[in-house]
């Protein structure tokens, strides 16, 4: 068997796009001290939102805007029940995700009469791909870097925007302060719930973009449960990098490659499909176990090792 490695890498970058957005969505709430599992459902709702808005608005851009609006609205629903209604964030997110799974199918059925995909009923809209002049002519590299979706380039840009937001703006400073020590933030007059809402708003935008990529770039229709765990993988990616934007994006890229690996092997070899489908999730489990083990070891060294190293401080 021969595998087209260039295609594999290009596919990896493409498949990393929704994961990078998901990781950014996850890290911005995490920086404010909230582990937001609802991203999965937010992405799913946005993916449906994208095709619905695009179809009725007759424009891919209205679709993109719609996805972002749906991301924002769903983010506010979770934020409201958790921050204002004081519900448990985890339970809220689980309930929300379950609702999103069923709710998107229900809405799709209402609008199209279909229960599994909108591909027959709605026109396909695709976010344009961009050929970068000069670079596209470079062999190998051109095939990888050029010709990706506009959203893929936006994802790269977003990583740096988020970094800038967190490190250079006042709101970013406050988000980090609230996430790390809410009591300290509160003691100097910062409203912790308000910061929570703001971070959920940013989270909503990125979840929206992630969803839009799935239904208007990866494929050009919505299908049942198409987020398929990408929200959770995004959460794991940011967790591995401790919420740092660039590290989280790189971790998301790694998961993108595992996704691509399973797709490439599926197309080009005779491995059983069921096994290949498992690869991204298996990789996630291994990755989080390994990062967690490294952290535990470090802590253990302080508690035990210092007994020998630093006698009588």
């Amino acid at each position: 068997m021969s595998i087209d490695w260039v295609a594999f890498i290009a596919e990896g970058i493409k498949m990393a796009t929704p994961l990078v957005f998901a990781a950014l969505a996850a890290l911005i709430t995490r920086q404010a001290g909230m582990f937001n599992m609802g991203i999965e459902g937010m992405i799913l709702c946005s993916a449906l939102g994208a095709v619905v808005f695009a179809h009725y608005g007759n424009s891919v851009w209205i679709g993109l805007l719609g996805a972002i609006v749906i991301g924002l609205v769903t983010g506010m629903i979770i934020a409201f029940s958790s921050l204002t209604g004081k519900t448990d964030l985890y339970l809220t997110c689980i309930a929300f995700n379950l609702m999103a799974t069923g709710g998107t199918v229900f809405v799709m059925y209402l609008l199209t009469g279909e229960k599994s995909t909108t591909s027959g009923a709605f026109r396909a809209y695709a976010v344009p791909t961009i050929d970068i002049p000069l670079i596209k002519d470079i062999p190998v590299l051109g095939r990888i870097i050029s010709g990706q979706s506009l959203l893929t380039y936006l994802a790269v840009l977003s990583v740096f925007l988020v970094w800038f937001l967190l490190k250079k703006t006042r709101i970013g400073l406050r988000i980090r302060a609230v996430g790390e020590n809410p009591k300290a933030a509160e003691s100097v007059g910062i409203s912790v719930p308000k910061i929570g809402y703001i971070s959920f708003a940013f989270c909503g935008v990125f979840a929206g973009l992630s969803g839009a990529f799935l239904s208007m770039s990866w494929v050009q229709f919505f299908m049942k449960n198409m987020a398929n765990g990408r929200g959770y993988i995004g959460l794991s990616a940011q967790n591995m990098a401790n919420g740092e934007p660039v590290g989280s994006a790189l971790a998301a890229l790694l998961f993108g490659f595992t996704d691509s690996l399973s797709i490439t092997l599926k197309n080009q070899t005779k491995f059983p499909t069921e096994f290949l489908n498992m690869i991204p999730y298996l990789a996630t489990i291994f990755a989080i176990i390994i990062t967690s083990m490294i952290a535990i070891n470090k802590k253990r060294k302080i508690e035990k090792g210092m007994a020998k190293g630093k006698e009588k401080a």
Partner: protein, 516 residues
């Protein structure tokens, strides 16, 4: 009274559970004054300061700032009125820089973005003004504890604090850092900031404070000039026993060692030696008391003995078996019973019934089982018996523990622990916050079990009456070490005890040798 910047008058604070934290406390702080607030743990110092800083409302009393009556409803309000507080547990964000921490909430802005350079400049300016040496650009997590404290002080100063509360500021500092802090406090005092200095360390109080207010059991024992006082006089005011509860007991007839602790060392996650080479034995039939100001390793010692936390080195044997690496269950099976420090956290499961809480450590035993199922009849019999024996006032064995009063909850705990058949009882603060009657029952039972059943007991308590009256031998812990040992607890005077507890004096290994 004209030059008083702060006056707290007739402050009374009663917590919802009926605990009187502050009773009719009045004290004033003058301009250019470092004013010490001393007292044992639980004496009400922190509560009083929380009231001043707007974190807790008082039931009664008035606060005057610069002669004007003020209502302080929350910390922001306190800050606006010129009160700053440096908490014992720092309110810092470790991953942010010094400048970011100092200016958090009042961040300088430039072109709509956070002006980091401006923050650095503002921080540096205020630091220079009061002669603080900190690098505004370094991350707080990379600082030493002493430097973190400076950041906390700067945070208060940048918001214009004129009255600065320092809650046990030297507890976490090295001697050198303490010296530096004192220099800075003098600078602050001379530039017009009044300082309230909370501390256990009397030599520090004597050195830097001009006045001292002593609290004991929530009451004010007066404000005194430090000139003309000495450490022993203050420690007597602090520690003095007011109610003397006598417990009649015969001399102990110690048997073989039940618990044997050798060179025990425990290091916490910050790398601090919280237990620092502790060795002693507990024999059958005796009660060993541990006195000490809280936070000197007693809690950690009880956690290690109970199997709730690991230790770095040393050896602990219970009935000749090492407890290292054993689970709580296994240690209990070796013969340990544990009255935990915080009964609602580790003593009981609040939402479960009295019956379930008492059965928690013994439901696996054969006598309470009926093949696969629990023997409901046997269990009810036993629990009803305990309710009667320990006089637990309740609606019945199925009442959730949370609905009982503190004293009755503790009775549920002791009903389980005293009847578990263990020959070692680890009792931590067994009578904290409960009524006198229950407290007396628990103390008497501890002594009776030692005498009649030959139980070995380790009693860790912040209540000096309790340790002095119940214990046979008495140990004093300070900074994770045993610093004094007495053969007969009820012959120790509170002055002597106070001096060892506060680290004024320390016995040599030779003096203690025979008593460990």
């Amino acid at each position: 009274m004209a030059d008083e910047v702060l006056r707290m008058q007739n402050i009374t604070k009663i917590y919802p559970n009926g605990f009187v934290a502050n009773k009719d406390i009045t004290f004033g702080v003058g301009v250019n004054e470092i004013h010490a607030l001393v007292g044992e743990n639980g004496a009400g110092k922190t509560t009083l300061m929380k009231i001043l800083f707007g974190m807790e409302p008082a039931q009664e009393g008035k606060i005057f700032i610069n002669g004007k009556e003020e209502k302080i409803t929350n910390p922001l309000d306190a800050i606006a009125k010129g009160v700053g507080m440096v908490h014992q547990h720092f309110m810092l964000v470790p991953s942010l820089t010094v400048a970011e921490n100092v200016t958090l909430g009042v961040e300088p802005m430039k072109n709509g973005l956070f002006d980091f350079e401006g923050a650095v400049k503002a921080t540096q300016e205020i630091a220079d003004k009061y002669n603080f040496k900190v690098d505004a650009r370094s991350k707080v997590r990379d600082l030493s504890v002493g430097q973190m404290q400076k950041v906390e002080i700067l945070k208060a100063l940048i918001k214009g604090a004129k009255i600065l509360i320092l809650d046990e500021p030297t507890a976490v500092l090295t001697p050198q850092e303490t010296e530096e802090l004192f220099e800075q406090l003098f600078t602050l005092r001379d530039s017009g900031v009044s300082i309230i200095f909370i501390s256990h360390k009397l030599e520090e109080v004597m050195r830097i404070c001009s006045k001292v207010t002593v609290l004991r059991h929530g009451q004010c024992m007066g404000t005194h000039d430090t000139e003309g006082l000495n450490e022993a006089a203050i420690s007597k005011l602090m520690v003095g026993r007011d109610v003397v509860l006598k417990i009649e007991k015969e001399d102990p007839k110690p048997g073989k060692p039940v618990v044997s602790i050798k060179n025990l060392v425990k290091i916490n996650a910050h790398g601090k030696h919280v237990i620092d080479g502790v060795s002693f034995d507990i024999h059958a039939g005796e009660v060993i008391g541990i006195a000490g100001v809280e936070g000197n390793g007693q809690t950690e010692l009880s956690e290690v003995l109970a199997g709730l936390s690991d230790f770095a080195s040393g050896e602990v044997k219970l009935n000749d078996t090492s407890i290292a690496g054993k689970s709580v269950r296994e240690i209990r099976d070796l013969g340990m019973a544990y009255i935990a420090e915080d009964r609602m956290v580790e003593g009981v499961a609040g939402d479960m019934s009295i019956k379930m809480n008492i059965m928690a450590d013994r439901f696996e035993k054969k006598e309470y089982k009926n093949a696969l199922f629990m023997n409901e009849k046997k269990i009810n019999e036993a629990v009803n018996q305990y309710i009667k024996e320990f006089e637990i006032s309740c609606d019945g064995p199925d009442q959730p523990v949370r609905m009982l009063s503190g004293g009755n909850i503790q009775k549920v705990v002791v009903a389980r622990e005293f009847t578990s058949g263990a020959n070692f009882i680890l009792a931590c603060q067994p009578t904290r916050g409960i009524d006198v009657g229950t407290a007396e029952m628990i103390r008497k039972t501890i002594v009776r079990k030692a005498r009649e059943e030959g139980t070995a007991t380790l009693l860790i308590s912040a209540d000096l009456n309790e340790v002095l009256e119940c214990s046979d031998r008495l140990l004093v812990m300070h900074k994770g070490k045993v610093v004094a040992a007495f053969p007969k607890a009820n012959e120790v005077s509170e002055e002597t005890l106070g001096e060892y507890m506060l680290g004024v004096k320390e016995m040599t290994q030779e003096e203690m040798e025979a008593l460990l």
